[in-house]
Symmetry: D2
Subunit: 309 residues, 4 copies
Amino acid sequence: MTHAAPLSGVIPPVCTPLTPDREVDTASLTRLVDHLLEGGVDGLFVLGSTSEVAFLPDGHRRTVLDTVLGHVAGQVPVLSGVIDMTAPRVVDHVRVAVKAGADGIVATAPFYARTHPAEIAIHFRTIAAHAGIPVYAYDLPISVHSKLTADLLLELAAEGVLAGLKDSSGDEAGLREVILRRRDRDLTSFAVMTGSELTVDSALWMGADGVVPGLGNVDPHGYVRLYQAASRGDWEAARAEQERLFRLFPLVHVGGPHMGRSSSALGAFKAALFLRGVIDHPTTALPQIPLDADDIARVKDFLSEAALI
Amino acid sequence: MTHAAPLSGVIPPVCTPLTPDREVDTASLTRLVDHLLEGGVDGLFVLGSTSEVAFLPDGHRRTVLDTVLGHVAGQVPVLSGVIDMTAPRVVDHVRVAVKAGADGIVATAPFYARTHPAEIAIHFRTIAAHAGIPVYAYDLPISVHSKLTADLLLELAAEGVLAGLKDSSGDEAGLREVILRRRDRDLTSFAVMTGSELTVDSALWMGADGVVPGLGNVDPHGYVRLYQAASRGDWEAARAEQERLFRLFPLVHVGGPHMGRSSSALGAFKAALFLRGVIDHPTTALPQIPLDADDIARVKDFLSEAALI
Amino acid sequence: MTHAAPLSGVIPPVCTPLTPDREVDTASLTRLVDHLLEGGVDGLFVLGSTSEVAFLPDGHRRTVLDTVLGHVAGQVPVLSGVIDMTAPRVVDHVRVAVKAGADGIVATAPFYARTHPAEIAIHFRTIAAHAGIPVYAYDLPISVHSKLTADLLLELAAEGVLAGLKDSSGDEAGLREVILRRRDRDLTSFAVMTGSELTVDSALWMGADGVVPGLGNVDPHGYVRLYQAASRGDWEAARAEQERLFRLFPLVHVGGPHMGRSSSALGAFKAALFLRGVIDHPTTALPQIPLDADDIARVKDFLSEAALI
Amino acid sequence: MTHAAPLSGVIPPVCTPLTPDREVDTASLTRLVDHLLEGGVDGLFVLGSTSEVAFLPDGHRRTVLDTVLGHVAGQVPVLSGVIDMTAPRVVDHVRVAVKAGADGIVATAPFYARTHPAEIAIHFRTIAAHAGIPVYAYDLPISVHSKLTADLLLELAAEGVLAGLKDSSGDEAGLREVILRRRDRDLTSFAVMTGSELTVDSALWMGADGVVPGLGNVDPHGYVRLYQAASRGDWEAARAEQERLFRLFPLVHVGGPHMGRSSSALGAFKAALFLRGVIDHPTTALPQIPLDADDIARVKDFLSEAALI
């Protein structure tokens, strides 16, 4: 398998199942990988935000990498998040990911430290210099509180520092700017993936190469159908599938105002995987508040409505 | 030495000197510790924001802890930052700090992950359950994008979870609320330290116990004089000293708009320590842009003006 | 002409030409209206952000209303912005707009005052109770610092308070939520217009009724072609037109970092209209910094490139 | 009465009493002015945020000006807010205030429009060119979403554009920077007033000239005692008074999470004035949610505790 073509298709960020005492549940994780592969996904992204990477100690991160890469064994590319505050810390995670056999890494802009755009460029250059495998930029302003500009991304693409972008900024005009300017500059090997799981048809319409959908854990078949419809030019079918997934999405709000929005969304994804029989426990990492029985009942209603259970 | 009394006095966050190839410069770090102790400080805080903790890999963090704790050898309390995204990752740093012999740890609210106030409480409770040494909350909204409320802090103080607060929020009314409600609830062992180095006289006037001043690396004697003047009730002298330090502070802006504000401030502190002969290199960590020769010349002007060189 | 059908099509926000001494240039304004009508637009929106409404005293606002409504004379619907801090002040503008003969009004959420979602609902209900003509909600978080939720909009639509939405939030998933839930609740008379001029094809694809494009002042024919292509189902042509307009759009940045982003964009629109011979002066309102000769030369380059001069 | 000396002392922002049908209650307003004058205040500030200026149509604003200026008749200086989005609109309010006889005006940075620091300077220069009476800058980032820098303020002070500052930013280090640099540049006629009613003793200690306390509506005597104690150098008494007022302040939170924070605070001030017999109705302007009976009972408890009823 070669990765000369840019990344494309459906590459879900893989949830990290935990046991009730909050160790990585490797048996469930393996089943989740099978569930996604059986759904027809084109790659996997481990240790991203949806994987609760911010809550996983380094030991857990290593277990996830080893489990997934061992099980996938090259069937599809596996990207690894290397989420940490700045390049010198990120590089430590890169070493682990490379050693485990990841096909690419995904890094955000610096966070906690307040940096300058020129420093963000140095950050990615430093990471790439240590990686030896493709580096994808993860644009996630809601977590890191800065936005990656098209100028920066395309400069780093032209330098060979970045192999692509996962855009979870929600800024569709910004996504389109990257896509159009990539075309103008003939940076065809730079992959543009959207992380906005509710506008996948329009992102693909604009020219994006694929999607990294958190909700794809729950319904990988749906996102694969969406992508395949778009690929064959059946945009009506792509839109219909997207609208169906749009109606499933509000399960992320079942936790309501009594917990963080991340906790509610991640709890709902895990509850759905539990209810679908894919993972053994819906446990989320500390300090997240767990969904209660009523919340989980509402997740079940969403799944029933979508004929997923 | 017992620490039954709450923390108080001047406890500077210790810069982390680096060699030109960006390893921890332990010789310089030891001299910096001596410089601070000679200045009369009441404690040290390593691995805080001013220590470039966001830029230090775990190996560097351990080197800093071992170097400082080994050299101080109990002369003053040494607190250690345990800065990471959420409790499960923070706990790994806590273990290292405890093993190294730290007298207390300093933890922020979660960051990167979006959390709920109830989850911030669980975060601190989880950390405290693993620490076995005093836990101080570090209120730093500019880095973590949430503010610790007086309600939360005092609840955790009453539970015995928190031993104190380092308030770097810049919210002086909020600081005063904690101080007054601490008094009302007789939580006298809960230490309140300000991290706002430009309003130390007024913070002490309101009832704060001490200060954690980044600028204290450059001029520890000044902050110690300020604190001692306030302690003996000579507020005029305290104010005069604070105003003198206020005029030294703008050295943090020498880097101008061409780098991040953190880079400029940390670069200036290190340049000043280098110019004063305390450390061997003014190197800052990647991906920060270094000060140039003109910037350093301006730091020198500030030091001359303040008769510090 | 009846307006029983919801608003649709291309409804540009009309720039407000000024004389060199910063009075409303009514002759230029009339020519601008003709330019837009000749371009085939479906309606006009006066006194919006692109009209520099925040910079126009009440006397100027009245002049704009009287000039445009007198000149249009019912050829197309004319909506009027009624931009002010809260309902009691907005209502004064509503009275003027109604008296002048506006076909609808456009109001934002409260600003300056910090309000609660329930208060935003009361704000719109109060406005509608005084209007007697259709009220459109203007979602513009960048100016008013709060976001209108789908819950709020659809509740007010169902109550008959709101006739539609102009969504300038840039949140395409939020726009789609309104569109899909409007369909589910059969609120077919509630118009959904996007104000995001760079994603019009995808907004129409999702089900939006039209667009309110600031750039439509410069190239109304382009937006009309885009809308008409989408209306007849020729999405390829719509996308090609959108991509062409996308490449024209960066003229808004010619002012660079030395002025506000609004000043640069509004200055560029006016410079383009001046260069195209539509208006007599490119003057913008105080306290905006004007474009300089180099900036205007760059606007000219954009127009040449787009074959608009 | 001459105003050659800079403004100083206690200058409360005057609440605007309303009748149940939300007209200006001029009889109550007159009594409120008497209540404040009897409390010993040094001036009055009408049409500020605490006056619900964002909710008052122009007609109401004029009524307030005429009522207060007519009643005060020169006993103390009366400043008028001229709150609007940008200079061209502010100037209309300035004309009304000047005609009514105001002794000075108070203007914020532009809002709604996104501006550049250089444009904020032009904004204030434009206002001053039309005023002919002293212009005070009102630094209120929570409402206008930009911060006035010391550089800007002192430049405009040196130019003679600004007569002073009302600092409601909560940034005490920034306040101190203005105070110290004012001293260095010998801009002694530039008044610095704090709007932070919980840190008045420390602001005066740093060198501020006075305070504009919203809570001063409820307890003007307290703020006057605080200021007078500081003026005679009895800082212990000033602090004790400030701490007493600090404990009264949380009445602003009685409205809880079911309304905006402004609504809760302004509702509580009006309820307190009603309960103290100063005004006839606690009515707040639309679209604010009113306090309910329980909320008002809690305001009463605060007043009882403070021996104000």
